[in-house]
Symmetry: D2
Subunit: 336 residues, 4 copies
């Protein structure tokens, strides 16, 4: 059964809007960052990672965002272009803003943290009048990410993008991607997450992220079905609630729920798991696969990324995902 129907005859399979930043990944790992002396630079930011993932999976992809007018910004633009992503809607800041940074600390595969630089960053300066209605009308699927809602004018740019997507029948996926750094309060977060979620067809988030959205509501048991059902009375057709190692559950508007098996991995770090999962899952849904198969595909893509040093650079191709699944099925990969 098709839970979501995508428009056809469009220039782009996929467009993402939001954060473009730089990851500075610790080269010497399994220690506190105080003792890390060198860092390697990668393109980062959840929607950037997902867009790179979708492009690697063969989808015609575009990005809507803003970069700093500096070396970091130019690196991001040229990386996206090399990946075959359309950057005609990636504008360049003219106010002296900087590129957001994320220094990663990997103390152990399960103790990972991030040191963020999010003051005066270019990506949050995207304006609603810089969002291209034409591009959104030419995409089958638009992905928005919660971090872009954190501040004005990027917040208004996302709402404007949602308006265009609704007007033109572009399917909307919302990766909650809640990062407390740039938000002023939990209440502010809840208000805008809810306003955005009302307009989206596919919601993807962790249990904790959905809890954040429900702070003004009564779901004291944090019941997944209560959470998902609310959104089906608005625009949603699929709501995926992620429970970390316990796996994810996809709820659908017809009242059913879907679970998929996961794969083993030799984990280096947990960063990027969600982004590669989202890319793999959305790819599957766009191919018309069952939710179970799509979720397994996302899961395999995530395993590949968490077994690698980077996020964006490690996003797999279809060949790599399929190979990983086969190797798991042959028992060649076991958990670390």
């Amino acid at each position: 059964m098709q839970h979501v129907t995508f428009p056809t005859s469009r220039t782009f399979d996929f467009a993402a809007i939001g954060r473009l930043c730089i990851d500075l990944n610790a080269n010497e790992i399994n220690r506190p960052m105080e003792e890390t002396m060198t860092f390697t630079k990668y393109v980062g930011g959840s929607p950037a990672n997902i867009a790179i993932g979708m492009s690697r999976l063969g989808q015609k992809t575009a990005f809507i965002g803003k970069i700093a007018n500096d070396q970091m910004g130019r690196f991001i633009a040229s990386y996206l272009q090399r990946e075959g992503i359309d950057t005609s809607s990636v504008t360049v800041d003219d106010t002296g803003a900087v590129t957001g940074l994320a220094f990663t600390e990997i103390k152990s595969p399960s103790e990972c943290s991030i040191l963020m630089y999010r003051d005066n960053v270019a990506d949050l300066l995207l304006k609603p009048e810089e969002v291209s209605e034409e591009l959104i009308s030419q995409a089958k699927l638009l992905l928005i990410s919660g971090t872009a809602l954190a501040q004005s004018p990027s917040r208004e740019a996302v709402f404007q993008a949602l308006e265009y997507a609704k007007k033109h029948g572009t399917v909307i996926a919302f990766d909650l991607d809640y990062r407390p750094y740039t938000w002023k309060s939990a209440e502010e977060t809840a208000v805008y997450y809810n306003l955005a979620a009302e307009k989206c067809d596919i919601l993807i988030g962790t249990r904790e992220e959905f809890d954040q959205m429900e702070m003004f509501e009564s779901n004291p048991e944090h019941d997944d079905r209560v959470t998902a059902t609310k959104w089906f009375s608005y625009s949603a057709k699929i709501a995926i609630i992620k429970h970390g190692k316990e796996g994810s559950i996809a709820y659908t508007k017809d009242g059913s729920e879907h679970r998929a098996k996961s794969y083993p991995a030799k984990v280096i770090k947990t960063f990027g798991a969600g982004d590669s999962y989202a890319a793999g899952f959305l790819y599957g849904v766009m191919q018309g696969w069952t939710l179970e198969k799509s979720m397994e595909y996302g899961s395999a893509a995530a395993c590949i990324v968490i077994s690698s040093h980077s996020c964006s650079d490690a996003m797999p191709t279809t060949e790599q995902v399929e190979d990983y699944i086969k190797r798991c099925e042959r028992g060649e990969i076991t958990a670390s």
Copy 2:
């Protein structure tokens, strides 16, 4: 025909959320403000005026807002209380914010302007968590006003109030009340006005205010019917578009339009016309009157206010409105 159905068995007929401020009206008028030496103090702010108007018309009324912890704030609270308005949801700022001010300049009955003090004002500091779900669930009608959307956290407080009103079936009226002072850009304004308007049952604004909301859209002829029809696909049942002296037109979801005659007045100034019109009109709709009769009632209330020195203090009772209409019908009042 009833265009809007109100819930019954509720504690309050009417609740308003938003701006509470002080008007300082020129005592010596028909001159530039440079030459005005004394000013008289009144409670002001569009939703405050409408609430006072509704209370004078006999409606059980409550206010949701925030006042400064100073003499001006205390004056506002005690004035509302003397008018019989419930202020249990009027909170007191604890950050050192001030009370918004509006100095009025009346050069002539048709040349009126306002000098606003809107920096660091208490009313824009109302937080979403200070909005009482209980109070909104106990009101038949909630009025929101556009100025409260201009800044955080008041903006989020209004969206939270809308969420509660939708949840509990409280009818929502939106007085656009667009004041450019506190907004950062026209685009920001358009985005939030649209997000709010989607959730409202009754929209009231001038042609210019609706134009502001439509800046991202294609209504090059500024066609009233195009404007109104958009909102009927969301929550709206009635949209009133005001054209100043040419009168107002009420569009309804059934596709009909309604016009009403207006009354003559000896105009002192134009301030407060919109607020008294809104109070009179909403009163009529709540009584189950036709839109034409409700609009005429609003029109008469407006005439009384523009013939007076103040806004809030001049809001009429039902006796005063009815008397004004009768005197007009008897030809006792002619235009100035």
Copy 3:
């Protein structure tokens, strides 16, 4: 003995830099402001009051400051011009700043308070490049006021004015005029007050204001002589420490101290006492009078102002001051 020598052959006797604002004085007094319904508008701000006072006393006076581009700003400029004050160095803000306001509350002659509006005010936006070196080089005496040090860029404008005054031998008087509203911290205040005071010839302040400046120092007994002596090792020649009703003491660089008798007054309110005292005192010093006589002249000027409803408007002429002194000497005026 002459404690300070003024340059001769200059266009202006007196120039002041700093705050220009509006006082809104309660018309109905001896009650809390909540119950005051009308207010009268006057030019206000300590340096503005002193400049008006000096001009009324016959001194050729100029002002360096910034006004809002609105009706309040234009009222201030025209009032100063009518008083014969040169406003060629009063610039007009172009950023949308407002005019500072001070609502006065007079509960009783001894219980007076002020409700200030100091957010986004034009006077604090005076820039160093807007300070005229030419004008300062053509003034005998420059008065600076502490409030202008509270924020950038006005703070830098005052330091630039001090630089020009030192360069051209213009005598500098510093009226401490400490108003906590616009300062971020007591420590910040102390740092800039001290940097400015080092460069000044005449210091005038209350004991509490000098205490504020000494917060990083050791004067646990709040000893006036310790306070004054510090500044004589920098530029100061005279330091006046005011003790309210107990009178003022002038310390001089030669180690002597000077006290003067005060006059009775029928007090309406205490506002403006310090400003009129400063004008009268500085006028006396510029005439070459003894400090005692200058202080008495300041004291009489203060009595006239506190017996009136306004500050700026009540600043006396030499005839009025001399008449007041004579009437006191004849026993015609007794304390209220």
Copy 4:
């Protein structure tokens, strides 16, 4: 001749106040930063580099500053401690500020630039009340750096440090270190640089930095002697004006000027030249050497740093400086 006399019997030879940050130096050099993929982390910031340099030269050194409460901040503190620098006056921010960053780009030995992250940085949050009078009273020499004057409250902390140094007879050196990033305007910069320079014994800056300070003055020929002479009427005894490759000139209060020969170097990058020069020069002055010998010592120290990949890490010991000078004298080192 001794141009400056240092106090004796003090715990510390040297104390510095101001910026503590992180340098992220490109590992792959001689290319634009867009193509640099890995960066190495070092402690940075002009006063930090000078303090590390002084400690390496055997001086008992302390630092007054503020670090972020994160991994970068802790790395800085532990690095300073390992270098033997007293960090009892290095406080930890509690507001969520970050550590300033400087990414270096080395396109060629003569084309070096820096990408700065200076928003919301901890070092600019040092408060005047966090400056230890005790520590400054126990230091022979206090170094201030211009970047710490760029914003409040760090600006006030530096002025408070100057006040303590004057009070206790601690010699003050001012490394102008002008970085436009964090300053609001050139006029603001000039005002505070001048206020600080008035109080300093030794001034060190480039011709361009002194030009910046003189923007309100008349030195149209940018004459070094005019520049230096101004400060000798305040507190200065030595003013060093640096002319890049053309060498530096030291002016002294007695009217003489001093030049020193420079040394050849195989330059990797120019970063850190000024800081190592300052450390070497101040070390020499504190040893009672002639200005010429002190300047040559500074010059040799600078050569060592610009021949290395880092700044702080490359600061030389006395053995290294002396060895470098000897090798130059033997002709073993020639310019790159």
